[in-house]
């Protein structure tokens, strides 16, 4: 039973990972690609690890450490990537209408 539940959770995680890969292929500009790549892959990885926790309860401690590590590094690194792209003026997609970072920088420049 636990094996079945664990496998289902892992399967759900891999669906998210697949969506992340698809998003990286299909999204129009690098910011959107970073965003899908991070959100979906963070959740997907965590689900896979949690599924493994159910599958192999003995590994839970180490796997939870991994979850913590992924939660700490994945969002921060893509934040750094997106910020670096913004600083280098990588063009946005035409459909993007709001750029809060630029607004904030303009306000900081005016003040």
């Amino acid at each position: 039973m636990t094996e079945l539940i664990g496998s289902l959770v892992i399967l759900a995680g891999s669906v998210f990972l697949f969506a992340a890969g698809l998003g990286v292929l299909r999204m129009p500009d690098s910011y959107n690609r970073i965003q899908t790549g991070t959100k979906a892959s963070t959740l997907g990885t965590i689900l896979v690890l949690l599924g493994l926790c159910v599958y192999h309860p003995a590994w839970t401690g180490k796997l939870l450490l991994l979850v913590f590590f992924v939660l700490l590094t994945n969002p921060v690194s893509s934040h750094a990537l997106a910020r670096a792209s913004h600083a280098r003026r990588i063009p946005r997609s035409d459909k993007t209408v709001i750029d809060r970072l630029e607004e904030a920088e303009n306000r900081a420049g005016d003040a």
């Binding site: 590590f69 700490l72 590094t73 921060v76 934040h79 750094a80 910020r83 670096a84 600083a87």
Partner: protein, 230 residues
Amino acid sequence: MAKRLLIVLALFLLAMMFWEVAANYTERTALTPIATHYVAQGPDEVGAPNLVTAVVVTYRGLDTLGEVTVLFLSAVAVGLLLTMGGLDQKAEPPTPASEIVETAVQYLFPIVLLFGAYIFVNGHLSPGGGFQGGAVVASATLLLFLALPRSKLRHALLTITESLSGFGYVLVGVLGLVLAGGFLDNRVLPLGDYGRLFSAGAIPVIYTFIGLKVGAELSAVLERFKGEAS
């Protein structure tokens, strides 16, 4: 034209060489006598579950000492070259990292250091060892430099760590010569219980020295490359 001909000739000779190797290749189905000895006697003689470590640190310990020396010399050479040439100091000041990155690195830095230490302390039990752990330690330094380019390392501390680790490594080796079967023999310390952290004689000690040395060396190299970021 002659140049083309030479290239074709060189390629042809290269192909001949590789063809010799590839044509006579048969997959080995049995261990060579020395490998059989390592696999069969390794756990009893060295006491390390990770046989790669047993070979690297004990059976072929002298080679590893040579590798450590090569790494040391290349780190010294990099430092010398970068100081002589003088890095382009007029490079524009780096864009400061955001607060999120700085905060995350402050949490991550000690964890990554700890993980590096874990890898080299457990080198005789699990995959990894002094070189890999040292590289992880240096990657923590790299992370620190990326997030906080102004951070400085304490050179005196790095130099002392590196020198003492190298000295300790050779000292353990010489102790093996005096107390046990030969240079770098790990049986200067009791072999202990197979599979425990404090076992396999001097292997954890040696790998700790190597890990500290490699970590300190690579960190110093990274700082040389960073230059004097203002």
